[in-house]
Subunit: 367 residues, 2 copies
Amino acid sequence: MVRPIENVAVLGAGLIGGSVGLGLRAAGTQAVTGFDVDGDALRIGLARGAFTAAAGSVAEAVAGAALVILATPVEAVGSVASEVARVAAADAVVTDVGSAKRHVVDVCEAALGERFVGGHPMAGSEQRGMSAASADLFEDAWWILTPTATTSSDAYRTAALLAGTLRARPVALDPADHDRVLAQLSHLPQLAASALVWAAVASEEKESHLGLAATGFRDVTRIAASDPGLWVGILEANREAVLESLRGLQDGLERVRKDLAEGDWEDLRAFLASARSARLGLFGKPELHDVAVALSMPVLDRPGVLAEVTTAAGALGANIEDLRIVHSTEGGRGRLELIVAGEGPATALAEALGGLGYRVERDRIDT
Amino acid sequence: MVRPIENVAVLGAGLIGGSVGLGLRAAGTQAVTGFDVDGDALRIGLARGAFTAAAGSVAEAVAGAALVILATPVEAVGSVASEVARVAAADAVVTDVGSAKRHVVDVCEAALGERFVGGHPMAGSEQRGMSAASADLFEDAWWILTPTATTSSDAYRTAALLAGTLRARPVALDPADHDRVLAQLSHLPQLAASALVWAAVASEEKESHLGLAATGFRDVTRIAASDPGLWVGILEANREAVLESLRGLQDGLERVRKDLAEGDWEDLRAFLASARSARLGLFGKPELHDVAVALSMPVLDRPGVLAEVTTAAGALGANIEDLRIVHSTEGGRGRLELIVAGEGPATALAEALGGLGYRVERDRIDT
């Protein structure tokens, strides 16, 4: 059922772009053309086999490409998207890998229209650059896609196929939801880790004491070693959501400060207990990979339907493994078919879609 | 050179007390008597072989003990120490394993005098209890000792031997320094992890999004699953130092908030860069285990000398592997002999001690 992805252009030869190239090549893709303004990174990408060809310009890279992946730092995605819009084939699908989505999606849709879909693989490393790239960087990681009412089903399907080919788990979220969730789950922890190290160093006359740090401190602050330039770009692109989540963290710490200052040990205990039960609950859900369920439903053949269905799946954490729209010969109507991993998520999604007015049929597929 | 530790009493059959028992038994100690008000924990300790006997009371546990380890929750250490003072042999050495030291050392010295030395193994787990205990919990972990002007050299030496027997690395710090460092390296990260989870949950209408968390969030918040009751005790015991370090973290986050709100990307970059270079530098020091250096010096035979020398070593991160005071027959004078791991730390310590007025002789020992 899975067609191979061919004729891919990767713009940006960093950790993510390089890992995409290596992963595609490992999965059998024949042609991956790379481009980067940094010639050294590009040469390393060629030498490591992430790219089968190195282009001298964006135009050269995307000539003949069926899929273009924008893998530049997030602050450069907009200008590269504009250039791609001028030079790529009209039916080429374009996606990105940036850590902030609302602003990026606005800019890219303005330039590229329905053939763009935002993407964000939730994999990374405190290391960076082509040298740290790896074919299995995305294995079992979430790959968030952010389709909107504008996105074509072809764009969504191709980007989801890219994620699946790299052994990631595609999931759809609304761009603003993505930014809010990422602020909480990634951008805020990054700032907290940096602030913890900063405060520890500021408090020490003799730094050597910090070498006493046990596992807890090492784990909590590992990501403080990430690249500052990269992070300033991400934080700038997701400024509003980060500010909102930062306010939540500051509120939590102020509650703790007050508890400590006033000796309110009961409230402190309640605070720690609520965080504990949330943390234990976060990752406790069993995942079923052995069952797939097909859902199908009649839909009006318009792009907004796709975003409505896939973001409903994203909100439930349901993993859509495949998706297609079968167009009706009568025009204006069609049938949307989804493959969802796991009985539980499929049932929840079918119910949610029923609530949105869709008439959903289900079929269990034994894989 | 190392005499076995015998006749040990462990008061408190939790993660630490249980791991001490298992570790001592693995190292060949014949008699480890356990006591806990929780009879179930004590029975599990016997069944797992952490204890060779289960006592029915503190008095029964410490009868005939040469070393008594206070492994209760930190808020109970003071009252147990008072009971031990009434019933233990006059020459029994007593140490504890609590995560806050200044208050504990004050109370225990008041009860026990020179035979008490504070201790804190920098090992733990978000798990707890005898069931999670392990003979190798302390392997390669720092074991902080907090000798004072009151501490006898016998107490220090016995506690350092305990740490070494459990394959931990003993290091001495002033009790107040310990509390300040621990607030930064352990108590503050714990609060930050809990506050991050708390803020994330508070921000989510649908919790399922949090399942999207990548490795960064999982690492940063792992310790938020720790036991709230245990942590309230630790935070209460180290209240002042935690409040001071919390103020530092709040200052750092407020600087970030201001940078984001005002778009001061240069200051944000400088903040992240300073944290990055500190984090990279923290654990980069090579450790030499292949060379040991003997330092020896004439000293006045009074307990304060020991604290002065060992805390100087602690401040430098120098690992004292063995220590003895050779008493002079003339009385009032003696010779302190130290074995220090690594040429660099030994040289630094010899210089620091020279600066304090000691006449230090060095000898390299090939091990």
